[in-house]
Symmetry: D3
């Protein structure tokens, strides 16, 4: 169920069955010469919708812009500051928690979001504590990174080995090729690709990673690979979601 395509009466009914919601979060940032700027948001959105269908869960609209300040020296990147993103997450969760939602499962497409999301969760629990609403101490948030799912990771290693890299990776590019086959891009990819530099400010990042890739060879990606990644991620994250909802222990999802 997509929140955007539901009515408030349907949400009211849904809340009688479940208090869980899936929130896709991505980023709008350069992904190398051939990767789509929307890669992280598009992947998270597609997988979240897939999981939502699989597990009959409500799916919120996608947070298309995340924390990508280090990519902002490349045109087309949009980023929130961490302090802004924290307030955005706090507002989302507070509104939904007032309405009765309790489990917030963020399906995330961008490594750079993780730290700020975790900071935001802490800020949010604390804020909810101050509101004197009933049972907000039951609110739980979880980041689930599709690209860090064990099976996805193993497939990427199998298909691409070291050329998977860590940004503008063939696995995420493959997934967008599967989702948006009309948007395959051609551009020169030098064989030599930068890798191993620390991530600091935006100017520094562009200096170290001049074409935006981090150790990756996205030319290896194919739409067929993308389909395999999609199906694996949906399957595994569906299981994760259900186990997380039902289980008092959180060992199931590594983050």
């Amino acid at each position: 169920m997509l929140l955007q395509l539901s009515t408030w009466l349907e949400v009211e009914s849904y809340l009688e069955q479940s208090q869980g919601i899936i929130i896709p979060i991505g980023s709008t940032e350069q992904h190398g010469p051939t990767g789509l700027i929307g890669t992280d948001a598009l992947c998270a959105e597609a997988i979240a919708k897939g999981v939502g269908t699989q597990v009959q869960a409500m799916v919120a609209p996608t947070l298309n812009v995340g924390m990508a300040l280090h990519h902002t020296a490349f045109p087309g990147t949009i980023s929130l500051r961490p302090s802004t993103l924290i307030q955005v997450i706090l507002d989302y969760v507070t509104c939904l928690a007032r309405a009765g939602f309790r489990q917030f499962f963020f399906i995330n497409g961008h490594g750079g979001n993780i730290a700020t999301l975790k900071a935001a969760f802490a800020e949010t629990y604390y804020h909810l504590d101050s509101l004197n609403l009933p049972n907000t101490n039951e609110v739980k948030c979880q980041v689930a990174n599709w690209f860090m799912v064990r099976e996805v990771y193993l497939l990427a290693k199998e298909l691409y080995g070291d050329q998977e890299g860590s940004h503008a990776t063939p696995s995420e590019v493959a997934l967008t090729q599967y989702l948006y086959p009309e948007s395959l891009k051609n551009a020169f990819l030098s064989e030599k690709v930068a890798s191993g530099h620390g991530i600091y400010g935006a100017a520094n990042f562009r200096q170290n990673y001049p074409d935006g890739r981090m150790g990756s060879n996205p030319a290896l990606a194919t739409p067929e690979h993308g389909q395999r990644f999609y199906e694996l991620a949906v399957k595994e994250l569906s299981n994760s979601y259900l186990e997380w909802l039902s289980c008092p222990l959180s060992k199931l999802i590594s983050d």
Copy 2:
């Protein structure tokens, strides 16, 4: 051109031709018993993409959540606080302005966003002034509300008269029916619908508008109407965008 489906190299090329960008902004809020929670975002997004195609402009990913605090007593509504939304807009525009964008055309689907957007624009111009970047004094932001376009307004009056109302209107519902024909909803709509109350806090709003509608009869909506609204809005806002880009006078767009 969709920013999400572009590469940073394509954005670099685009910026040589144009420094304009269209940013759809909507809301995630109750729209009465039969209206979709995503109505405002879905309408803004579709029209923005239509305009983008028409005028060859870059279209940013949609801001799905806006300022809808007064709707938060209905489940499913998500809102940013105005102070959060101001920072979000400031972050968007600052990132894009650093990359060279100069004209920001927000196609808006929600009346409740207008005030905060205007406040955000003022805050953003002032912030850009402090950054010592070249030519940021040329940055211009504009809200263009599709539902306030003169021709759209006249068509709604013609089709629905007073039953257009001011929230969960048949015109916006019609547009979502055209866009998402598989998501038509059936629910009881009482003949008597509240109208004319001021808009204050969320509890007050729900008390005054118990089913979420404000003076509207969305049962009058049809997908065919929706198509007409879509085409009118795209045509008129395409003209507005082009005139706004080229013309030093701003009389063209009333807001």
Copy 3:
């Protein structure tokens, strides 16, 4: 009754009769070569006091500085950022609401304040919701712009036609001439006056409107006109205030 000239015991008594308060808000900004920098605050203050006397309502001290960032390239302008003004309004209303006030009627002298005020009201209602005070859901805020009162508008059109313009207008200048007859100013006013430009950042504004006027001819103003504006505004806003207090419908005041 002026809050500044009352004691807390008198306020306590007043609250037993009424929970309404009038808050004048203006701006401290350039008003062209001959307009007073305090125009917006002085007009709002005078009219608010007039209304307060007429309707026996408490009048708060004037907010002399509002949102005028676009005027800050002219010396003498002082502006709050929108994010600051939101917190100021929130603090005002929260303090007074804790004491028992419920209806906040802002008599406003500056168009540039409107958007931020509306954003502030939304932020404030939401904040009050989190405080667990009794009946704060009854808090209502309203902007009443004296220069947009229908009768005032018609008189300005009648007296000045198109030369009313939209900033440093003869109507507001006339009103200050009536209020501060010792402060009539002489300065060169070119016959050609800029108009029709959009309002963006401060540098841009000054470039477009080099002497600060927007399409207006303040030389047409007279103290006698000012008196007529004053009396009309007081009369009409007094009615508006009373109707707003008593009436559950808000159609009475357009904003």
Copy 4:
């Protein structure tokens, strides 16, 4: 010269002669059973205008509301939070400093403002440093508390001895009686008045100081005393202002 009654052209001329400005700041807070809620703002405003006339300095509009959170358990009090007031001061000074003002002389009527003002000055200097404007390192702010002027203090001691107290004092009440003779108040003042308690939160304050006075006997005040205070304060602060402007040493004003 009053900024509110000047034009921007006059400000431009003024700045060629002087870069100093006087900013009156008061408070809107309970002043015991007989003291005016506006006492601190009204006194600061009158004295600032007097000093402005004496020394030919520009006087900004009054900050009517300051930091009075500890008085908010009494109806009629309005206070900014310190974090809000800091941003307000920063906005004021930044706007005026961009226009060329350099010396900001705050004539203050409320002890509770002092700490936040000093914090705000530090925040503001630091902010100005980040703006890359010319010569903002020359910006200087000063709090001048009229009630702490040595000669004023001595006169109060002479007239009232220990009954001067520290809030709702006969000296400030006398000054408002001189300024607003039509607003003399009658109310029961118990002979026993609380004193010596620390100042903590609002509820605690009202518990300790049940009628709002702190050790004072405002019944001793007369309009004639008020005139003497007014004249002394204007004279002494005029000297202080001139010495502060001209002298590189700051020993002249104790704060």
Copy 5:
């Protein structure tokens, strides 16, 4: 008792006996050519521990960095902005108040902290009011400046006369010599030392006080003096703490 060296069970027990806590706060800022950058924090910490032992009170970990923006033109200085420090204090007190602490006694080593601390206390009381916790209206905060203790002040005058100055003073240097005898510094101290300038921004400060001292001659300091200051401060502040805890009147501590 040091909070850092206690367990939460010991804190639980302590709270049954006392709800008071001592929080040392200093600064990390230049102290002239021979003074330690940590002077203010090291002095506050040592004295706070001494007082804690004397009066059997819990001592929190030291706030090593305070408000020292005006010293930031000298390398090694670290400062919070006032707006940051306010949030830090609010967070400290709120956490501890939720656990049951009620009296917060800040032993302070830096004059520049005082204003911001007082602003922070006001902000904190107000914040606690909004949390609906039991008895938070009993929360009391107090700044106790060791260098302003009457006996300490008199000793400094006796030993150093005017050469005590007001920053990088021989008294505080002596105290660090006593505490850290291995860190005595040698550097050229010109006989002529700047004094009497106002304190404004950082660049201005360094211009006026080129070696960082303000009217002081720290060469007069000896470790033996330091011991006397230490013992005096511990003795007097121990008395102050006990009186403050027990006494409803706050006259005992001047601030």
Copy 6:
């Protein structure tokens, strides 16, 4: 070299040799029935000082309080909100970067700080970009968690196996026993210890982990173990620091 025990002249000299600084950051939070509340700060501080000595680097004063909101249901815990901690880190780094420091090596004792630190680094790089200072794009921040150093981790596994747990671990307790042998605590430790629960809000945490431990048996700790941990951590982090300073690749430190 300890910053607190240096003069500004010594810092000036140091900066000619190195632009690196080590900043210890810990937490003030419950560590189970026998662990010290200061564990994380005390460990980070001791190791940072050890590393500083080893590599001749400047060591800043310890950030004693970090992000521990989830522990705040246990008395004695003090935490900053993530939004506060971000501003604190930004202020620290900005001050030091203005003075010439470029490499900021945070030696961290608390897992709960990591996410917020990373968010803060991103916010800080972006902020520095806006300041127009020379070469701030060279600023680099790094979190180095002593407890995640590979050799430390292996020793903990060897000594304690699964009983190491993840909070109030025997390894950190051992280290404090080595550092503060006079503060060994006795308290009942049930054999059964909670583990595997997710970390959400504070009330939820205490419910799941009633004595504060997370799967650990701190009774296994000995001061001798502590010494081994200390020496390993100092040795390995000294290497890490030197490699990080000198090496353009960041693979050396996993985080």
